[in-house]
Subunit: 178 residues, 2 copies
């Protein structure tokens, strides 16, 4: 990953279209990664993201305990690895190793970046009050990285049971919306 | 809209890929509609959806007061109307009339369906505790409708400032994920 810092004020443009992301966590020197589709922007700047991590997932405990994670955004060439990460559990499998994903130290959190992802967002949990009832975590994005060499990244958008819509063309309309 | 009921247990397949939606509300016999991209599934069944409606939007007050709304999912042929709804406010404009959108009575809520949308989800607010701090509402989907005549619906996915990614092809991988 050739990485360049990306302005926090524009992080929403990367997430609001609904890509599948890879959520990484780390504890006691061991990193884990899971795919996630249930996330939404909550605010522009500082960028805040709400996301659902089921309490059945290994990541739930790691996220609660460490309060840190990285959101990586994969493109279609990583589809097999993304599904692989969803079909296995970090309780029993070293997913980075198994699926040939490369962890890379982040700058602000202990969870690793994913080298193969075109975007990586370093995040901390700022509100876990809804984790008990809704498995819902509120994150603040502390640092954003983008790979400037990947033009027109074709993100994956989960439609259930391993079906993914692949990002198509982009259209532009005169808009006052941010 | 030729509408057919859609199983609640599969509503997540319509929303988790991140489409722009049209959120309708109604109060005192007057309906309003706004585009929204900041939403996420929160649970499968009954389907629960979390969404951000800014307190600067006219819809915020309507949603708080009535506790009801409809989530319509538009396709690319409605892009101009979607942006139009985002560029105007229901405080001063009758958006259904201005943008030639057709309201249709829903079965469980007073907010209208949008005839031109290929999906309409009738929702009630079940938790507005985070509305004050995060503009975040938790909805339960009570009834789901789909237009069976619209095959391969090409949804819109907002990327900021009127840029929309249009849904591309769908790929399928062997997955244990729901």
């Amino acid at each position: 990953m050739a990485k360049r810092t990306f302005p926090l004020s524009r992080v929403y443009t990367l997430l609001e279209s609904g890509p599948v992301v890879l959520l990484t966590t780390a504890r006691k020197g061991r990193a884990n990664v899971m795919p996630m589709s249930w996330h939404t922007m909550l605010d522009f700047e500082p960028p805040m993201v709400g996301c659902v991590v089921s309490n059945r997932n290994h990541t739930f405990g790691l996220l609660k305990a460490t309060g840190q994670c990285v959101i990586g955004i994969p493109t279609v060439d990583l589809a097999v690895q993304v599904v692989g990460c969803g079909n296995t559990s970090g309780r029993t499998v070293d997913k980075f190793h198994t699926f040939a994903l490369t962890p890379m130290p982040a700058s602000r959190v202990k969870a690793p970046l994913v080298v193969e992802c075109y975007v990586n967002l370093e995040c901390k949990v700022i509100d876990a009050k809804l984790a008990t009832r809704y498995n819902f975590f509120i994150l603040e994005v502390l640092k954003a990285w983008i790979d400037p060499t990947k033009k027109n990244p074709r993100t994956l958008h989960h439609c259930g049971k391993g079906a993914f819509m692949v990002a198509g063309k982009t259209i532009k309309l005169p808009s006052k919306m941010r």
